[in-house]
């Protein structure tokens, strides 16, 4: 039977790779409209074009043409080949997958996970020595992978297994699969996802950020008051984190005094915020406006708004997350963010529409601005900080505007051709 869903699979893979239709079409030398017809299964595809598209998407052509069933058999075959010292009944693979499709899929999935995790371990191994939290997370992942590998192999390779053992191992496999999914997710979240604020405690800045996150980044008791001591910091454990939080609150108080809440609400009524106009209206610099916009209570701005502040070394000093925009730890963010480009043009406000490549591939409006810190003496070189406001863009809104492609950080960025890449992406390993 001729497969009719090759186009749908191409579309799915393209979206996973974070490629636009026009970009993929350009890479394989066809028009975007023709690729659109292919993706909607209205043109048959095969031969060299299929091979080119598969190469551009970094997948096997068979994955695009044959779909899950052939992929499942192929994965089981690989699992059998990788089983050291054990002879699986390769001749009966199709019969096994046919009779027990669910368990076959579980086995294939576990094998893929183990292979993927082993490769990921290699990629991350040199980081382990520098990050004890990461080491503990990896230990959890590897121990679970060990349990899954051992249990799955027993189920797949033991000829006669008593029903009670079989039930027990099925149950263990299920438990471990859930645990592996959770620990893998939290590991990726730890590395790159700014939404997982609760899991990122441990260093002063992160504790302070978690405190701000918990309070929704808005402090009604500080509006109209210059005294940040009104805020109770007793829930923050370490003295260092309290100092960081107090410093951030002092900036909040200064911004709130310069741009009183009611006046800001009046200025924004019925309009989209324009940082340059607001800066002129309130006689403040652009950095104050960007920080203040990110600290408004829910409902004042029409769309979710995040904020990132860095110093001249690129270290992130503060981050307020916005859904869909990943903000990594350890200053390993993408150098293409307008936040860093602003450091090349201090005092020049930058506005840029960006798309962050990855799972969601969502678009954002970014405003960035770099300003010098106070000078300590004559003839000192100025040291700059930079701030970036990140605003979600409505689906389908403001079409036609040029969009810059940026990543979260190199490790999880699918843009293989990026000139600014620092290290290979673990996405190519199927993580």
């Amino acid at each position: 039977m001729r497969d009719t869903l090759t186009g749908s699979r191409i579309r799915e893979r393209r979206q996973i790779a974070g490629l636009r239709q026009a970009e993929l079409a350009r890479r394989v030398g066809i028009s975007a409209s023709y690729l659109n017809l292919i993706e909607h299964n209205r043109r048959r595809i095969g031969g060299k074009l299929l091979v080119d598209i598969a190469a551009a998407l970094a997948v096997e052509p068979s994955l695009l043409t044959q779909g899950l069933e052939a992929t499942l058999i192929s994965a089981l075959r690989e699992a059998a080949a990788d089983a050291v010292g054990q002879q699986a009944e390769v001749d009966s693979l199709e019969e096994f997958a046919g009779r027990f499709p669910g368990w076959a899929a579980v086995l294939a999935q576990m094998h893929r996970r183990v292979v993927s995790l082993e490769r990921t371990v290699e990629t991350l191994s040199d980081r382990l020595t520098h990050d004890p939290h990461l080491a503990a997370s990896m230990h959890e992942v590897l121990s679970t992978a060990a349990a899954i590998r051992s249990t799955a192999a027993i189920l797949a390779e033991t000829q006669e297994i008593e029903p009670e053992w079989q039930d027990r191992f099925h149950r263990n496999l299920h438990q471990d699969a859930e645990r592996l999914a959770d620990s893998s997710k939290s590991l990726v979240a730890y590395l790159d996802d700014s939404d997982a604020a609760d899991d990122r405690r441990g260093v002063p800045l992160e504790d302070a950020e978690a405190f701000f996150e918990q309070r929704g980044h808005h402090f009604p008791e500080m509006e109209g008051s210059e005294d940040s001591s009104a805020i109770d910091l007793s829930e923050i454990d370490s003295a260092a984190a309290k100092t960081v939080a107090r410093g951030l609150l002092d900036v909040y108080a200064s911004d709130a005094k310069a741009m009183p809440l009611e006046a800001v609400k009046a200025a924004l009524a019925g309009t989209e915020p324009d940082p340059i106009k607001l800066a002129a209206q309130f006689s403040v610099d652009i950095a104050t406006v960007l920080r203040r916009l990110a600290a408004l209570p829910d409902g004042v701005l029409s769309r979710p708004t995040g904020l990132v502040v860095c110093d001249a070394s690129g270290s992130i000093l503060f981050a307020k997350s916005v859904p869909g925009f990943a903000m990594p730890r350890f200053g390993e963010a993408c150098p293409l963010w307008p936040l860093f480009q602003a450091l090349n043009r201090p005092l020049v406000p930058i506005r840029k529409r960006i798309v962050q490549l990855g799972r969601s591939a969502a678009e954002f409006d970014c405003y960035a601005y770099a300003w010098p810190q106070a000078m300590s003496g004559y003839d000192d070189a100025p040291v700059y900080r930079s701030v970036m406001l990140v605003r979600s863009v409505e689906e389908g809104g403001q079409g036609g505007q040029p969009v810059a492609r940026v990543g979260p950080s190199c490790r999880v960025c699918p843009n293989a051709d990026c000139e600014s890449r620092r290290e290979p992406s673990i996405l190519s390993e199927g993580f």
């Binding site: 054990q86 230990h139 060990a146 027993i154």
Partner: protein
Amino acid sequence: MSRKVLLIEDEPNIAEAIRFLLTREGWQVETHAEGTDAVEVIQGANPDLVILDVMLPGKSGMDILRDLRELDDLRGLPVLMLTARGQLRDREMAESAGVSRFMTKPFSNAEVLTAVRDLHAQATQS
């Protein structure tokens, strides 16, 4: 007389899988999941071979191994060490502590069985 292995591993599903594999090979398998009293448990169980995880609650497998090698009657006991940390320096540390065989997670069942068979054969020959 049945051969006895003492498995010191705090991951219950790993312990269960290894217990199943070795029981089928004719081993009597005892398990323990704590590091703190592991040396006393080994002394009490008097096993032919120990499988020892490195990261255990209370006391690390590396420290347990060092303590074992200080004891005259357990100095030659075959110890197969399992760890999620497979870097060269971890292996070197285990070797200097007196490990008989070092294996990184995730291991295959065949590797474990082969290691246990080899270690037991070496111990009975010597």
